[in-house]
Symmetry: C2
């Protein structure tokens, strides 16, 4: 364990300090520390020894300024990291970009569009190498602006609106349609819908799927059974309880994300009805709830990894490659049945 730095000053050692100690120029020290081969082995050793003795670490801030190449950071903009969907996404992204030496900066917006705007602007000012975002839904002009400044942008689970960017989507429409169709095929003719606020892309796509399944079965969904706007389980539970308390309650519920599914589950259990339950997104312990539960599943880790991969390719591109036009990856969904 070398002394971290010269104790005369509280400042970390600089390249100059290393160079002086090794009695070479800063340039030679720089070469050695970047493994440039054109240095005499003896000099190399002296420099290495000096660096080790001082506990020298190159200042990455200075390097990125000099190299003009960005900071080796990627911004990840999400609404709520405590939601397991987003934390898995974050992990998937980080695992991929870390392999390229990039670090992930998190930006949690808490659903606030103003926070989201500021966050993106700040990430751009910080010269991140790219941004992966799951925009909350009320406009993407801030992302468009970032893209226009040359910062690669990748959207996860929502498509770009009004500008071009890579994105990874889930087959929201198809998955929701399949799950709803299953409920209808089992004889449920009154199927309720619980979903996120209408401005959220995935929510409206999944609602479209719900309606499409009805249409395919020659049915029309009762609009009174559609409740949008719930973001947290507690809200979803109230909304579900409201549906179950109707004079003609639904005999089944389709929930457009895991927050709504969990809320609906609580409402059904509390009410004691045998309402059938289906939802989008798998979640931990879904199999252990003691109620039959049909879920639309997809590989959520792969979603994050794919987003990371798309971004990394763009970052490499800026350093010389060429990926070509913007890509749109759609992840397939499956159906899983839990409970007895």
């Amino acid at each position: 364990m070398p002394a971290p730095h010269d104790s005369r000053t509280g400042q970390p050692p600089t390249l100059r300090d290393v160079a002086e100690r090794a009695e070479v120029s800063a340039m030679t020290a720089s070469r050695v520390l970047r493994d440039d081969p054109r240095v005499l082995p003896a000099t190399r050793d002296r420099v290495r020894a000096a660096a080790a003795a001082l506990g020298y670490r190159p200042n990455e801030v200075a390097r990125s300024l000099r190299l003009g190449r960005g900071t080796g950071l990627v911004g990840l903009v999400v609404t709520n990291l405590a939601n397991p969907f987003y934390s898995r996404l974050a992990l998937g992204v980080d695992s991929v970009v870390a392999a390229d030496g990039l670090k992930t900066v998190i930006g949690n917006t808490g659903q606030d569009p103003d926070v989201e705007r500021d966050l993106v602007a700040d990430l751009v000012a910080r010269r991140v190498d790219g941004i992966i975002a799951v925009p909350a839904g009320s406009g993407q002009s801030h992302l468009a602006a970032a893209a226009a400044e040359g910062v690669p942008v990748v959207l996860a689970s929502r498509p770009p609106e009004g500008f071009a960017a890579d994105c990874v989507l889930v087959d929201d429409f198809g998955g929701a349609r399949a799950a709803t169709a299953l409920l209808l095929a089992r004889g449920h003719h009154r199927v309720g819908f619980l979903g996120s606020p209408p401005a959220v892309y995935t929510g409206t796509e999944r609602l479209r799927g719900y309606h499409a399944a009805h249409a395919a079965a020659g049915l029309t969904a009762d609009p009174r059974l559609v409740r949008q706007g719930q973001t947290e389980p507690a809200e979803a539970e109230r909304a579900a309880a409201g549906l179950l308390a109707l004079a003609e309650p639904p005999t089944a519920l389709f929930c457009s994300n895991n927050r709504n599914t969990i809320g609906a589950f609580r409402a059904v259990r509390a009410t004691g009805t045998d309402t059938a339950l289906a939802g989008f997104d798998d979640f931990e312990l879904a199999d252990a709830l003691g109620l039959p539960l049909t879920l639309v599943t997809y590989d959520s880790d792969e979603l994050g990894r794919t987003a990371g991969r798309l971004l990394v390719e763009r970052v490499r591109e800026r350093r010389g490659g060429d990926v070509g036009g913007h890509r749109r990856v759609v992840m397939p969904t499956g159906l899983v049945e839990y409970g007895s």
Copy 2:
């Protein structure tokens, strides 16, 4: 929506570009953009207009290099962001530091000590303003080195070893002892223990609590009922199944974290025994499992926020304040009973 930058070049506009367009020196432009009052209102307006027209954003990399003040980033080092414990911590930390204009960089180690070392070194090289870490357990010399270089370090849920740093802890010992005591008081004399690898601080503290409860009741825990080393629910399930298959199986299990509790729950349900279950950490849907479950709880969001607060105070201190000696905050625990 202003044009993001001059389209002649793909480069974002610099202060010079703004200055030229406003026909002032870079210095004056800089003053205006930092709201330095000593500028003629007319000039100010010209500069503001130029900046807006170009879509100028100050280069934060250059600023931090010049100001020598760090980057406005804090590093968060955890083992597994997909674990809800860590994602809540991350959110708590971020919510506090964001209020001070700081961003959180995530470093996910995946339990690998080498990755952890590299990560910390890299964060230091990137000149983060501070580091919040939940070290995996095999040595903290890398954190000590960071602290020695003057980077504020705050540890969450583990105390510093071999160096001084602020930390936030949970009352691991007391919580585990209370939960175990409850099981013993209910007549369980064979209580199993499921926990993380022995190198993990929280695991061993909680094991200590488990033993202390036995001692206080005049009992000695059967060492064959102690299983350490499970990190994921699947491993924990196997370990629990092993205990339940013993000739003299435990009649109750105490699990030292949520991963182990979930695994134990699965094993108990699969076996169909009426083994009593207790564990450390609350988790979503713990109340919905249909089995009685006693959990040691604490405010995990507050844990993250406290860590963030301790760090922010140190960061401010480096800019002139004085917080004094290193602090150790211990969060109290409670006991919750779920299930019928």
